[in-house]
Assembly symmetry: C2
Homo-oligomer: 263 residues x 2
């Protein structure tokens, strides 16, 4: 499956302009033969937790979902996007996969919230990375800080995921995450990891770009620079099979011990 | 604490010559102010599992331990070394820490055995990386393939380890382990990881060198080339404290969920 990954700058709370960015990227990705477009964390509304909590009206969210479903349908490309969700007054950070007909396939709430601002504004999810069959692959979904925990990637791999799609909002100063940690997650849990970041400045936060796709051998098959960019990669389940045959990390785990060790 | 890490070529089953290499390294490390010398996996006997099983007489092992304790005492430096152990006919790969008086402090058996040859010859251990207070630090010990599993480093960190010492025997072709995986282990579990490899050729196996020490921020503070080398690093527990305050990975884990997720 040909995957496209969008790296771009979002304008906080300027939903119309952010949807336009996704619109153009979806058109370009679809024209280039991609079946799925992965977009960054909270991109349609901007990454600014406290401002979102104060200024985003939850009742506008269904319309944003509908617009994104419409973009998927219009361009004939599946879309993985991230939005806040508000249920019983609790705010969560979520990611949703809609297919090329605009039909919702799967939905996930971020488990590991980063820093005091996110933890003040949002409640954490509790389900493991959701895994779904799509485009001849098993795809897992996690969000940003989740993937810095090897446990989340493991939970996806143990459900059979061959690729883990990760919308993120990673600021400058932590480039070792894109450069070393993401390829290591891919290597150790033997799946593709695609990590789509913002770039530029959003409400004073400098986002680092450097979006990356690593294959199940831990090799970087695509890496963006610091500016707006559309990245492509062919995600091939046979590469996961080959990696697992080269070094069988998943088979060589000792889960019965890990439980005794109280991890 | 000043740590020295020995990277060298071992001669399979030529124990006297291998002990000489450790002798010279211990002298040099001690003279340079190091308090502990970390040596590679199975270095005193060479990394050659099937040949060890056939040609190494288990009754010679106590004498090798005694020689190594003597070297620690002679040079006034603690020594972490790795040898096979044979108990009730079962062979294991172990690592032993002796202090500068030659007194055994702690002993560990490798949990994750790599590849068919190791798995044929050796039985796996089942205890988590052992952790001990030494030189003002909490030190954990794991061996080679163990550290490729994030679970082993986590188990050490959860016991309070501020540094994980890893004797290894890593062949060429997997340099991403030294270059990316080891710094990621250090970053995500917020401890120093020191990874001491063989170099050169041993019974036809090409060992890759590139021994590395990464700090709790995931920064590489020492990396060897492909040839014999003695690496030094100052291991400072306050760096682990600073890393855990910068991004509190260990506190932000969700162990109650990981158990539900059946990791």
């Amino acid at each position: 499956m040909r995957l496209a990954l969008m790296q771009a700058q979002s304008a906080v709370l300027d939903v119309a302009s952010n949807l336009e960015v996704i619109d153009r990227s979806a058109a370009e990705a679809s024209a280039a033969g991609a079946e799925l477009l992965l977009t960054p964390e909270l991109f349609p509304v901007g990454y600014a937790p406290r401002r979102l909590r104060k200024e985003l009206a939850p009742e506008t969210l269904p319309e944003i979902h509908a617009s994104l479903e419409g973009l998927a349908r219009a361009h004939g490309i599946a879309l993985l996007y991230s939005l806040p969700e508000v249920v019983d007054g609790e705010w969560r950070i979520t990611a949703t996969l809609v297919d090329a007909s605009g039909t919702r396939r799967v939905h996930y709430a971020k488990v590991h919230l980063f820093g005091t601002e996110e933890q003040e504004v949002f409640s954490p999810g509790s389900a493991p990375p959701v895994v779904v069959d799509f485009g001849g692959l098993r795809l897992g979904i996690a969000i940003c800080y989740d993937v810095e925990f090897p446990e989340s990637a493991r939970a996806a791999a143990l459900q059979g995921a061959q690729a883990l799609l990760v919308p993120t909002a990673m600021s400058t100063g932590y480039e070792k995450v894109q450069r070393r940690l993401i390829p290591t997650r891919a290597l150790e849990s033997q799946l593709y990891v695609a990590y789509a970041n913002h770039c530029g400045s959003e409400d004073g936060l400098e986002l680092a770009g450097l979006s990356v796709i690593a294959d199940p051998f831990g090799e970087v098959v695509g890496q963006a620079g610091a500016e707006q960019e559309l990245l492509f990669a062919d995600v091939d389940p046979s590469v996961a099979v080959a990696a697992r045959s080269d070094v069988p990390y998943l088979d060589d785990r000792r889960p019965e011990l890990y439980r005794e060790w109280n991890l």
